[in-house]
């Protein structure tokens, strides 16, 4: 065996738990982080992956049982489990594209920032996982790692465009001067929402209605606002539906099974974000080093700092819209023809869905719920279509997926059009498809530069 073969089999045995930490350690050093801090961070990332895998195992066990019972006892086929963004992010970073996504994302940002194509300096390294997901889906569909990396690079550029375009509206509406949101889940919602927001403007009567955010938060916040309680309630309701037929003859064991399910799902809702927090802690040194590295080299013309849309979702309209969308999303998951997805972990991120379209909707909750519902309907079909691919890349990245088990998907980013669009372009057109998306992105930058004020207004800026 030659050296490369040995290296490859060594690397294959270790998987993401060890590989990503090694890469992160090296990147952090290159970007100028101290060795001790970089080392600790790298090990933290490995620990986080093990933690996430444990919790996913718990969720899987609980929900695949429900999924099977729904088919056998009730005759409803919901065999795609919503594992949530924490799992999706971990999967994305653990893929082959994910290993390289941080340098790829930084290089793209630099290459576009220095000549002034983009105004956004994206310091939100954590959310590079969205680009990694897109890239790994393209690699899965095409079998080519270089094509996946190219797709991740194009996706990074595209999100920078969306960040630039929506920045003025975001800055005004959320009072965040100098900030843009090049976020892979919330930013692509803006172009998709645009026609429906326009349509809403044309509906007499309805276009003038608004709702009171504080009232909504008070009445719904205690159930849907707390992920732990939401996990418990969803577990109990799902359990009742799935296992109702087993009550006859085995009342106490069935009741016990349902209550245990409620607690298991409450545990997932609490534990999964905690595990992701560990992953984020591990990424902080590399993300800080990257931020300092980039800030030092960025010129002194007007630069927006690109941040996570988490800085938006504290806003009352985003929270209220998210709360109202929880029951709507659950209802849609039941009634939409052909849907196989069982919503769960990502019900907690519904405030993100409309966060970036709030400036366009002027913060009007009725309108955001209207547009959000349409985004959800599209989203279900995107997520259903993506499920086999997401399941395959999760397995390929070393996550414990049982044989012949249910499929996985998520709202972030399964409900977003961009991962599916990239994957289909990569699958059917190959390099030409990725090239087309690159040309589209370049054209958008070009036309945006030609008339920034009009574009800004379209995304919700006042135009003053």
């Amino acid at each position: 065996m030659d050296f490369l073969t040995i290296l490859k089999s060594f690397v294959d045995t270790m998987g993401a738990t060890v590989l990503l930490p090694v890469f992160i350690f090296i990147f952090a050093l290159i970007l100028g982080a101290k060795a001790g801090r970089a080392f600790r961070a790298a090990v933290t990332i490995g620990v986080a992956f093990i933690g996430i895998n444990l919790v996913i195992g718990l969720m899987w066990g609980a929900l695949s049982g429900v999924s099977q019972a729904l088919v056998t006892n009730v005759g409803i086929e919901r065999d795609i489990i919503d594992v949530g963004w924490p799992a999706a992010a971990a999967v994305a970073f653990a893929t082959d594209v994910g290993l390289w996504v941080i340098p790829v994302g930084l290089i793209v940002n630099f290459a576009l920032l220095i000549p002034g194509v983009t105004k956004t300096l994206n310091v939100d390294i954590w959310n590079f996982w969205h680009y990694a997901l897109i890239g790994s889906l393209v690699t899965y569909a095409s079998g080519s790692l270089p094509m996946g990396l190219a797709a991740a690079a194009v996706a990074a550029a595209f999100m920078l465009f969306l960040g630039d375009w929506t920045a003025k509206g975001i800055q005004e509406f959320y009072d965040l001067p100098g900030i843009s949101i090049p976020h892979g889940m919330t930013a692509p919602m803006v172009p998709l929402a645009l026609p429906f927001n326009w349509l809403f403007d044309r509906i007499p009567g309805l276009r003038d209605v608004d709702a009171d955010p504080d009232g909504i938060e008070k009445s719904l916040g205690s159930t849907f606002g707390d992920p732990m309680v939401m996990g418990l309630v969803i577990g109990l309701i799902l359990g009742l539906i799935a296992y109702f037929g087993e009550f006859a003859g085995a009342f106490i064991p069935t009741l016990g099974k349902i209550i245990v399910l409620g607690f298991e799902l409450a545990a997932v809702m609490v534990l999964l974000p905690r595990m992701v927090r560990i992953l984020m802690e591990g990424l902080i040194p590399v993300s800080e080093a990257a931020r300092d590295f980039m800030s030092k080299r960025a010129s002194d013309r007007e630069v927006y700092i690109g941040l996570d849309s988490a800085v938006l979702v504290g806003h009352p309209s985003a929270i209220s819209t998210g709360l109202l969308l929880v029951p709507i999303a659950i209802l849609l998951s039941i009634i939409l023809p052909g849907n196989r997805m069982l919503l769960f972990a990502d019900l907690a991120v519904l405030p993100f869905l409309c966060a970036q379209i709030a400036p366009m909707a002027k913060g009007n909750i009725v309108r955001m719920v209207f547009v959000g519902t349409i985004l959800l309907i599209f989203g279900f079909y995107f997520a259903n279509a993506l499920a086999p691919a997401i399941t395959a890349i999760a397995g390929g990245a070393g996550f414990a997926i049982p044989e012949n088990a249910v499929l996985i998907s998520s709202i972030a980013d399964g409900f977003v059009w961009s991962p599916l669009a990239f994957m289909l372009l990569g699958k059917y057109l190959g390099w030409i498809g990725i090239g087309l998306f690159a040309i589209l992105t370049a054209a958008l930058f070009y036309f945006y530069k030609k008339n920034e004020a009009a574009w800004d207004k379209l995304a919700g800026a006042s135009g003053e």
Binding site: V123, D124, W126, Y174, D175, L176, G178, I179, E217, G221, G225, P273, V276, R277, M280, E281, I284, S287, E288, R291, D292, S295, I305, L307, D308, S309, A310, V311, L312, V313, G314, H315, P316, A318, I319, V349, P351
Partner: protein, 94 residues
């Protein structure tokens, strides 16, 4: 006795982790004993009942909590980070 800092953001996971770790590191360096509690904006009233000395938030603060509030956005952007670290340390030394 350790000072308690509530660190809030939109999710209680993402950006508040960045702020909380920066606060812990700065306090360790300054020799201040500190405990950080991360949460979402809506959970602040609940945590206030358990007692806290300072709130650092990366999202919007929507009511007057009766204790000092520091805007933590600079922890994310890196712009003006030293100034808010100083502001936080000053509050905690009082």
């Amino acid at each position: 006795m350790a000072k308690t800092v509530i660190v809030s953001c939109g999710t209680g996971i993402a950006t508040s982790t960045v702020a909380a770790i920066a606060i812990e590191e700065a306090c360790k360096e300054a020799g201040i004993d500190v405990v950080t509690k991360q949460c979402k904006g809506q959970e602040i009233p609940e945590l206030l009942k358990q007692g806290a000395d300072l709130i650092v938030t990366t999202s919007v603060m929507r009511f007057d909590p009766g204790i000092p509030v520091v805007k933590g956005l600079a922890f994310l952007t890196g712009v003006g980070k030293d100034a808010i670290v100083q502001e936080i340390l000053d509050h905690l030394r009082e």
